[in-house]
């Protein structure tokens, strides 16, 4: 049990830290790589839940395909680096905002609150039926029976995202 907690804690920490670095990294390519790390550690959490197939998908699709896509997108755009112009005089309010202190405080308060809520809640045992090991076949069958409509809507969502990316970034040509 302790090993389980420890490994979950380690994976959660890596996920959170890399997610934080995604937002704060100055070079966008670095941000993309941090994101890949975050995805990979999420797949570790899937492994802990004994969902090998989902974990493999997470690595293949998110850490593999999506990160590659993002790096391609970065290469196609002209933005490489995010620069924050240092200001000569900054008020105390601006300094506090820039330091990220507020985010840390809000995050900690939130974490403490959620921990408290989970602590006082008695979660019924066996509330969620154990899904067991999902086979590829089961995933496929569910996707094409119960989840047909959401699956199609998700496809349209991806198409829309692609159209949107093209509209918003295409070079203006005469």
């Amino acid at each position: 049990m302790t090993a389980q907690y420890l490994s979950f804690g380690a994976l959660a920490l890596v996920t959170l830290w890399s997610a934080y670095k995604v937002v704060t990294a100055r070079l966008i390519t670095h941000a993309a790589l941090w994101m890949a790390l975050s995805f990979t550690s999420v797949s570790g959490i899937f492994l802990m839940l004994q969902q090998e197939f989902i974990a493999a998908l997470q690595v293949l699709i998110y850490a593999g395909a999506i990160t590659t896509m993002i790096i391609f997108a970065i290469m196609l755009s002209s933005i490489r680096e995010i620069r924050v112009e240092p200001q000569e005089k900054r008020s105390i309010g601006q300094r506090i905002r820039a330091s990220g202190l507020l985010a840390v405080v809000v995050g900690l308060v939130f974490a403490a609150f959620m921990t408290y809520v989970y602590y006082v809640s008695e979660i019924p045992k066996e509330a969620v039926p154990d899904a067991g090991l999902l086979t590829v076949r089961q995933v496929g069958a569910t996707l094409f029976t119960r989840f047909t409509v959401p699956f199609e809507v998700a496809s349209i969502l991806l198409l829309l995202a692609m159209i949107g990316a093209i509209i918003l970034t295409a070079k203006e040509t005469e």
Binding site: M114, V117, Y118, V120, S121, E122, I123, P124, A127, V128, P129, R137, G140, A141, F144, T145, R146, F147, T148, V149, P150, V153, A154, I156, L157, L160, A161, I163, G164, I167, L168, E172
Partner: protein
């Protein structure tokens, strides 16, 4: 091991309205590549919306689709679905109609993409309204939100449009995350995403966690419907986004979000332990939205921004119905559904007028309305009637909408909220009157304001609907109240 298909329960007729819309969206997308002349594709999008409405009419005839869940319990056939999908399609049709002259002028490069995005957003909203499974509700929400973010940023060379898109996107992403967090806790507690099963399983759920999840869901939806204090993105998004897009924002995505709110809370979270809690929370949100929206709107000089605050206050009015729905479900939800229709019909005409001003190369400041009665008397009088409807004065549809909300509030024991709503309606006279004063009592040298035929059609439809639906409100409200009776209880 063959795959068991018996649980799918497909029904072509119930999926036909969104199906038709999706097919038209894709056809328009492909035709865009091959046609030089783009204007007719706007007409084709409109035809798609109308055909989707026809398909909906076929599906909603009594006995055509037996009430129930189809496609693996994802798509629901009931009066609620039919009513909301019809309302959303009407909104989409009106938006396409009032954009037809504006888009070729201001967005010559992405004309067809504009209609594409409106169609895709509408498709997502239809699924939000038509499902009792939070998976599909959430996916529909994402589809419509993503399309909206892109729509807000279509004026690429206008920094305010970029700002609007960015603010809308960041706030929307945060809202989605908060909503998803709440929904994931609910799923963890119950093991299902299907709302009726969730309702049964929630009986044994621990209360602190359940209430926390509920608060997250309320906050997430609060962002989407721009209820104060989650409304801060709305004024900037409305002001910066292209004008017809702002009109679209104020009409369709909010209506769909309200449909999702009613579904999730009345079907999934209506166990007695939490019902009163979310009811009170919504009542508080309602009071703050009405007050903040109306009082801030008084100081605006830009009409688009004013309409944004006005929509915040209208979210407050609608929340009266949502809060009341916890104690008097039929009356409360019926009033909300009716109000959504009335708000969309009224708003279409007002936004059409703003689009008309921009079509002549003018802005949307309060000053641009000066002397409108001189420049186009018909439009000025129409606008007067529409503002009267937004304030809620008989015999317009706005009055009946507010009346039903008021009745629901009183029946549910929220007399203070109902009274606050009446007071706020009086406050709102102040800022609508500012526009009316500019229109009627200021002189101008500007030439006559011409509306294209499509804009004329929208204003005429809007005015007609405000009067007809207002005076003939009883069948509509009866249908709306019956819609909830079939929600599966």
């Amino acid at each position: 091991m063959p795959i068991d298909l018996s649980s799918v329960n497909p029904n072509l007729l119930i999926i036909l309205p969104p199906g038709v819309l999706a097919v038209f969206a894709l056809v328009v997308l492909v035709l865009d590549l091959y046609s030089q002349e783009k204007r007719w594709l706007a007409g084709l999008s409109l035809v798609g919306v109308l055909l989707s409405l026809v398909a909906l009419w076929f599906a909603s005839r009594p006995g055509a689709v037996p009430p129930g869940d189809y496609f693996g319990r994802m798509v629901t056939a009931d009066h609620f679905t039919f009513y909301m999908v019809a309302v959303l399609l009407v909104a989409a049709g009106l938006v396409i109609l009032f954009s037809m002259d504006w888009v070729p002028r201001r967005l010559p490069k992405v004309q067809v993409e504009y209609y594409e995005l409106v169609l895709f957003a509408t498709l997502g909203m239809m699924f939000m309204a038509a499902s009792r499974d939070v998976t599909l509700i959430y996916l529909g929400l994402e589809l419509s939100s993503q399309a909206s973010y892109i729509l807000a940023g279509l004026l690429r060379n206008d920094p305010r449009s970029n700002e609007a898109a960015l603010k809308y996107f960041l706030n929307g992403a945060l809202a989605s995350a908060v909503l998803l967090f709440g929904l994931s806790i609910l799923y963890g507690l119950t093991g299902t995403t299907y709302l009726p099963e969730m309702l049964v399983a929630l009986g044994q759920a621990p209360l602190p966690l359940l209430v926390t999840a509920m608060v997250f869901v309320i906050a997430g939806f609060g962002f989407k419907v721009a209820a104060a204090p989650f409304h801060l993105w709305a004024p900037d998004a409305y002001e910066g986004a292209p004008t017809p897009v702002s009109g679209f924002f104020s009409m369709a995505p909010k209506a769909a979000a309200w449909a999702a709110v009613l579904r999730v809370f009345l079907e999934g979270l209506s166990i007695p332990q939490v019902m009163d809690k979310w009811s009170v929370l919504y009542a508080v949100l309602s009071a703050s939205s009405m007050l903040i929206g109306n009082l801030t709107a008084l100081w605006q000089t830009n009409v688009k921004r004013m309409m944004a605050y006005s929509s915040v206050s209208h979210a407050g009015y609608i929340l009266v119905g949502v809060a009341a729905a916890a104690r008097a479900p039929e009356v409360g939800a019926g009033a909300v559904l009716f109000y959504l229709l009335s708000y969309i019909l009224t708003n279409a005409g007002i936004w059409a007028a703003l689009v008309a001003l921009e079509n002549q190369g003018e802005g949307t400041e309060m000053a641009d309305f000066r002397g409108l009665a001189q420049r186009n008397p018909a439009l000025a009088w129409s606008l007067l009637l529409l503002f009267v409807s937004l304030i809620g004065i008989p015999p317009t549809v706005g009055f009946f909408g507010k009346f039903f909300l008021f009745r629901a509030g009183v029946q549910a024991g929220y007399v203070w909220l109902a009274v606050l709503m009446a007071i706020n309606s009086a406050i709102s006279v102040g800022y609508y009157y500012a526009v009316v004063r500019n229109m009627f009592f200021e002189k101008t040298e500007k030439p006559r304001l011409e509306l294209g035929s499509s804009l004329q059609a929208v204003v005429a439809l809007s005015v007609l609907a405000v009067l007809v639906v207002g005076l003939g409100s009883s069948p509509v409200i009866q249908y709306a109240e019956a819609a909830l009776g079939l929600l599966g209880r």
